[in-house]
């Protein structure tokens, strides 16, 4: 006599709404990411600069400590727009490193073993799949740049000396910096995420993912520099999205007077072209793989 009925029983519980279904994609991608030691290490390294800058801000706000150690206080640069832009620029290598590690398998892993068909055969639209994967990288890049720069900005504002008009001045003079931080980080995160998604959808082998990214980024940078050297027009450097991004930072933080810059209109065209190219490649690959099943 059977002690346990092992015949098929259908699930009869309730299913949740579309947002909860979509959340499963980034949730499991994050779970997979944090299970990798390299990701944790890189992310931790990406937080070291934040700690150093926090110490620096503390010293700026407590200059009597420096005076006690007879350290010249006038050599310390203030926490101005350049301070925050420089912080974000230094974070970029960590973003690229995490892009190589996390981005390589994000789409390619699904394509390599035919899992893409499983996603799109579930009640998940292709847009939801795209945004699920997009959200993973985008949020990691924003955590490394915007969240940390924003935290620094907040700390700088809150620890400013009480007995000086510094806090008010800072807020009045520097409030637009937060907008610049947000805009600059958003553009960086979106551009880098789109590049990762497109490259990952195009190249199934993780080894060649990094090579392809480097060839695209550095290749266009070199072409831009060569054209600039040949034609002498700074605007031709806009062919490189990286050059365009760097110059965008200077424009965003109102530091464009520091050196010769690409025209802002061309910067936005360059970024838009980069995003369009990535979107077209991603869509083309997705359609192709879904249609043929692998």
């Amino acid at each position: 006599m059977p002690v346990h009925d092992m015949s098929y029983r259908a699930w009869e519980g309730k299913c949740r709404g579309p947002l909860r279904r979509w959340l499963a994609i980034p949730k499991f991608a994050f779970m997979e990411a944090v299970s990798r030691r390299l990701v944790i290490w890189l992310f931790t390294l990406g937080c070291v600069q934040l700690l150093l800058r926090l110490g620096y801000l503390y010293l700026l706000a407590n200059q009597e400590l420096l005076v006690a150690f007879r350290f010249p206080t006038d050599v310390l640069p203030p926490a101005n727009a350049f301070f925050f832009k420089n912080f974000i620029d230094i974070q970029l290598p960590f973003c690229f490193a995490l892009a190589f590690v996390l981005g390589a398998d994000l789409i390619a892993g699904d394509m390599r073993h035919g899992a893409l068909v499983l996603y799109v055969s579930k009640p998940i639209s292709r847009w939801e799949y795209f945004f699920g994967k997009f959200f993973v990288l985008f949020s990691v890049f924003m955590l490394l740049t915007w969240a940390q720069a924003g935290f620094l900005f907040l700390v700088q504002w809150t620890i400013a000396a009480e007995n000086t008009p510094w806090r008010l001045y800072f807020w009045n003079d520097r409030a637009p910096i937060f907008g610049s931080i947000t805009a600059y980080c958003l553009v960086i995160a979106v551009c880098l995420t789109m590049l990762c998604l497109a490259t990952s959808s195009l190249i199934r082998n993780a080894r060649y993912f990094g090579t392809a990214m480097v060839v695209y980024i550095i290749g266009l940078l070199i072409i831009g520099r060569m054209l600039y050297a040949e034609l002498g027009d700074i605007n031709v450097r806009a062919v490189s999205p990286l050059s365009a991004l760097v110059d965008l930072g200077y424009h965003q933080f109102d530091l464009a007077h520091r050196r010769e810059m690409i025209d802002p209109g061309l910067i936005w065209i360059s970024i838009a072209a980069h995003l369009t190219l990535c979107a077209v490649v991603f869509k083309w690959r997705l359609e192709k793989v879904v249609r043929h099943g692998r």
Partner: protein, 320 residues
């Protein structure tokens, strides 16, 4: 109605993969048959909304594939033909993920993942990573992810492809059990006739993107009403001559076996009367049915008919 297709046309570039397919079928277990490249997988992909159709319309359980794709995918569990898994995940985690994507709450998804894995016979290996599995085990994982949210319709694309005989029997056993013990309807695509025959009630045969036959399998088998298998003891040559004289077509397949085709208007009684006249003993008399293989080969040998050959007799829910 399980499936309603109306002039459904799907094109890959210049090639028409499905050409004006029109059919309406109600079945608990439908088999999609056809040689490689007939359009079975494309039809499934079109039903799931994975490929866009050029013209026509299709409905599953009354839902339009163009406008209600997401709702359809909520009802459907799809088992792909090829390798489909996420590398680096344990089976139970993979299934939990699939469950959550179907809308199950995390805890419910985990419980259901364990339940389904035990059902398909992978309970003992549920904490192993899928990439270490044999092909047969991976096939079971694909079946398990199909069942995770208890779909009302299961679409299984070549479920026994590449399996050894034991694994194939196990897979067919699971499919038969699902058909019998759940309210789910099953659509199985296969080029293996015995699999379809073992599991399905109705069949739809595709050839070069068109439906060339469809209907209840049992009813289709009974289309050759005048063919009989007979084994006799006695004067075989005389009996053959006598049958020829009354207008029967005969073919001796071995020393005592005959295949007799009755002419129109004759009844089997005439065969017994002829035997009685010659003193021949009839030791076996069987109204021969076509096997699914016979039907399949016959349909594929024919040129494409103008209209699909529909066989609507017999009970729709008659089991194999």
């Amino acid at each position: 109605m399980l499936l309603e297709l109306e002039n459904l046309t799907v094109r890959y570039g210049k090639q028409k993969v499905l050409d004006q397919v029109s059919i309406a079928l109600e079945s608990k277990a439908l088999g999609l048959l056809g040689p490689n490249g007939a359009g079975k997988s494309t039809l499934i992909r079109a039903l799931l909304g994975l490929v866009r159709h050029e013209s026509g319309s299709a409905r599953i359980e009354g839902l339009d594939i163009q406008r209600q794709g997401k709702r359809i995918r909520e009802l459907i569990g799809y088992m792909p033909e090829h390798e489909s898994y996420l590398a680096g995940m344990t089976v139970v985690r993979f299934l939990r993920f699939m469950g959550e994507m179907c809308g199950l709450a995390p805890r419910a998804a985990m419980e259901r993942a364990h339940e389904v894995l035990f059902y398909v016979g992978l309970g003992e290996v549920r904490y192993r990573k899928i990439e270490g599995f044999s092909y047969g085990m991976q096939q079971k994982v694909r079946l398990a992810q199909t069942l995770i949210h208890g779909p009302r319709i299961l679409i299984l694309d070549e479920p026994t492809n590449g399996l050894d005989p034991t694994a194939r029997d196990e897979m067919l056993g699971l499919i038969r059990d699902m058909i019998q013990n759940s309210g789910s309807k099953v659509i199985i695509s296969s080029h293996l006739l015995r699999d379809i025959e073992a599991c399905c009630h109705e069949v739809m045969v595709l050839k070069r993107g068109r439906v060339v036959a469809s209907g209840n399998i049992e009813a289709m088998k009974q289309t050759e009403e005048n063919l009989y298998e007979i084994r006799v003891k006695g004067d075989l040559d005389g009996f053959l001559a006598e049958l020829g004289r009354i207008g029967c077509g005969c073919r001796a397949d071995d020393r005592e076996g005959l295949e007799v085709t009755l002419a129109d208007g004759l009844t089997p009684r005439r065969i017994f009367e002829a035997a009685d006249r010659l003193g021949v003993q009839i030791r076996h008399f069987y109204a021969k049915k076509d096997t699914l293989e016979d039907i399949f080969l016959k349909v594929l040998e024919d040129e494409l008919p103008a209209e699909p050959k529909l066989v609507r007799e017999g009970r729709a829910d008659a089991g194999p």
